[in-house]
Amino acid sequence: MKTQIFTFLFSVLLGASVSSQILISKTGGSPNVNALLDIKDSSRGLILTKTNTIGNFPLYNAAVEDHFDDLPSLEGALLYNKEDKQYYKYDGTIWIPALQLGGFYNPFEARTKANGAKNWTCVSLLGINTCDLTQLFGSNNRQTIPLSNLTNRSQLLVNNLNTQVGTDYIVIPAAGLYHVSGVVGFSGTSLLGFGQDVSYWVNLDVSYDNGTSWSTLAFKETSQSGGIFIDLGQSGNKSASVSSTVTLPANSRIRLAAAVSTSSLISTYSNSTDHTDTFINVQRIR
């Protein structure tokens, strides 16, 4: 133990007095000219600081959007997390696992959130449900969701594809193969329904003529299956999504539409406007 400390101190003194560089070595030598700290050893490693969980990281703050406070002067810091056994790097805003990239810099991504809420209501009278009735006559309560052109780093609302965002559509800037996802968060309640009583319909529509005519690009119905029988049940926002991998020409427009159908006595739903719940994500594949 003593020997080790002396070795350390000696080399520190040596390094410091010559060039303000630090060499840690049992075998002497001099630090590399470009090294501020040079640890020379072929059989012993370097241990940096470590912690047990992400919750113990510096600047962790569950109350802020991205869970970490910003501190530009700490950019480049390294810290080991024992929970998932890897180093994390701090980019000035968040801690990122060393084996991953920060999503904000993904050059193939555009994500835009809802700019307002739409409402859906179904009422049953004498066994006839208004939503069922309109569906019987070939219609439903489908509504197009308005979109926001807001970008926000901590919310991962990025526009690295340089898409143009209209009031309720986005414009694909260049022809290519895209993975497009539409996600809608629904909140609301239904009373006196049984089991499989709520289904969420999410549409991605496409227009190839600057919005004059629209057709369905992808559609999915998500059943909130067995709502009262699966133990956790009805509370909270529910997420429904549809995705499609498709080639799109330049200037095609994409919009997000949704509908709700229930057979319960009365139900009323609206889409969440939170960026985590309702958004269109466009990923360019090639």
Binding site: L46, G103, L232
Partner: protein, 255 residues
């Protein structure tokens, strides 16, 4: 004079556990133990370098993973000259510490372990799907480092994730009348999203189903998958899931 300050701060560091700065004089953040201050990028840290993977500390050819276990050495960094990568010791073995630029692998695929669901009329039991990531498998890996035994994914990085399940199951049923598999995705214990799939008939009493969705998840979200089934026309049914390579849950980070 500067050198003395530097020196004393290092000595201070040794003796009093203070913050240590090299290449500068001012502490810029309260969160560092050791800081190499050099804004031009011309002065760096060189970590110790081993000649190859057999000269890394704790090497033991007799171990299946080639290294002895030592939790006290966890987080050690060392450069492997043979493979030209920085490696980190995780308490049991050495693995690559950082990624080449733009080369992150962004998925986790876990095996669904055997479990079962029973139904009496439309009342079905439900439970978290048990998951595992078998060692040394080319089908199952946890590149997102999110898996927590035995049924949870704990999210490390905020973002948009594509979630997919494939499941092969067997039913002690009396006829096949359009069985539907439903998986509820529970986030921090609250049902957030649903994946439903009609089961395809494979062979006698054997079916498969798959579905996908995308979901925005946050740091430290715990994600579980709760399964149940719809069995129209059946009054009593029991199904066993998983336990084969066909049955898996995958999670891919899109953004």
């Amino acid at each position: 004079m500067k050198k003395y300050i530097l020196l004393s701060s290092i000595l201070g560091g040794c003796l009093f556990n203070a913050q240590v700065i090299m290449g500068g004089a001012n502490v810029t953040s309260p969160y560092t133990q050791l800081e190499l201050q050099n804004t031009t990028g011309q002065k760096v840290l060189i970590q110790p370098a081993a000649n190859n993977s057999t000269t890394l500390p704790k090497y033991n050819a007799a171990q299946p993973d080639s290294y002895d276990d030592d939790p006290t050495m966890e987080a050690m960094l060392m450069y492997d000259k043979n493979t030209s990568v920085s490696k980190v010791y995780d308490g049991s073995t050495w693995k690559q510490a950082f990624i080449p630029q733009g080369k992150a692998t962004t998925w986790t695929r876990a095996r669904i372990e055997p479990s079962s669901v029973a139904c009496l009329s439309f009342l079905c039991t439900s439970g978290n799907l048990p998951l595992s990531i078998p060692n040394n498998s080319n089908q199952f890996s946890d590149y997102l480092s999110v898996f927590r035994p035995a049924d949870t994914f704990r999210i490390r990085q905020k973002g948009l994730y594509r979630i997919n399940f494939n499941v092969l199951f067997n039913g002690a049923n009396i006829g096949f009348a359009g069985v539907k598999v439903n998986i509820a995705i529970a986030v921090n214990g609250e049902q957030k999203a649903y994946m439903s799939a009609n089961a395809a008939f494979i062979s006698s009493n054997s079916f498969s189903a798959s579905a996908d969705t995308v979901l925005f998840l946050d740091v430290n979200n715990d994600v579980n998958f709760r399964v149940n089934i719809n069995t129209p026309g059946l009054s009593i049914a029991a199904f066993t899931f998983g336990g084969t390579p066909d049955s898996s849950i995958s999670l891919e980070r899109i953004l």
